[in-house]
């Protein structure tokens, strides 16, 4: 039980608990958002443990810093503090969801014990693994097309969001 392992379990539990808090909290959207932030941050910590440094930082910056803030912004803008609607009559849906979730989990369990490699201890990582240098190099050599596509996507998203949010197209 090394320190890393302990930290992993701690953050994992934190992530799960906060995720549950986000989903099950039906009174307070802002609380849900804050729970989401906790999930994100603890996931970032787990990324650190997995030695994906850049990804961890990006995770905090984008998810923690931008996306959830956007959620909060919208919640506050629309003043949707207490939101939940009278519980619908979709017992069937809930049941089906429960079954589906069980199915997913069982599938994962089955898939996990197929491959012995997954149970093994991961070996050492190469020098500078997950640092911004390696990622950057890989991004701008092998995946440069991907970068271009991402930029296009973002442009489209900006325009779309603008058009959608404008009260009147003039």
């Amino acid at each position: 039980m090394t320190v890393e392992t302990i930290l992993f379990y701690v953050f994992g539990t934190l992530a799960v608990v906060s995720a549950l808090g986000m989903v099950l909290n039906i009174r307070n959207t802002v609380a849900s958002a804050m729970n989401l932030v906790v999930t994100m941050v603890s996931l970032a910590a787990i990324y650190l443990l997995l030695e994906a440094y850049l990804v961890a930082v990006i995770q905090i910056m984008v998810y923690g810093g931008a996306i959830v803030v956007l959620f909060l912004f919208v919640v506050m803008l629309l003043n949707l503090s207490t939101d939940e609607f009278p519980p619908g009559k979709q017992r069937v849906v809930k049941l089906a969801v429960a079954i589906a979730c069980v199915a997913i989990l069982t599938q994962v369990v089955i898939a996990l014990d197929r491959d012995p490699l997954l149970a093994a201890q991961p070996g050492a990582v190469p020098e500078g693994f997950g640092g911004y240098r390696q990622v950057g190099l890989s991004l701008y050599t092998d995946y440069v097309l991907l970068v271009e596509m991402a930029s296009l996507l973002l442009l489209a998203a900006i325009v779309g969001a603008l058009i959608l949010a404008k009260r009147k197209i003039d």
Partner: protein, 106 residues
Amino acid sequence: MVPLNHVIALSAILFTIGVIGVATRRNLIVMLMSIELMLNAANLAFVGFNRIWSQVEGTPTIDGQIFVLMVITVAAAEVAVGLGILLSMFRNRDSVNVEEVNLLKW
């Protein structure tokens, strides 16, 4: 370091929670958040696998994390557009209850 299957299990649990959120909550904002959660679960799996296969016969590979970055990009775009939709929906319906957005049906 923990073996990979714990990481994958964690990501599976998070994903399932996200599924529950998307499928049961009727508040559009929370649904979007849950989608984010599912994406993050996928990211976690990516990073975990990348941790295992951090090098392929000697040459370090980072592909998993690249994909995570791409997923994050897509997530950002998706949130921007999704919230835009939500805003316009709120303007028209004065609510963010997805069940009130049901014009398109038989």
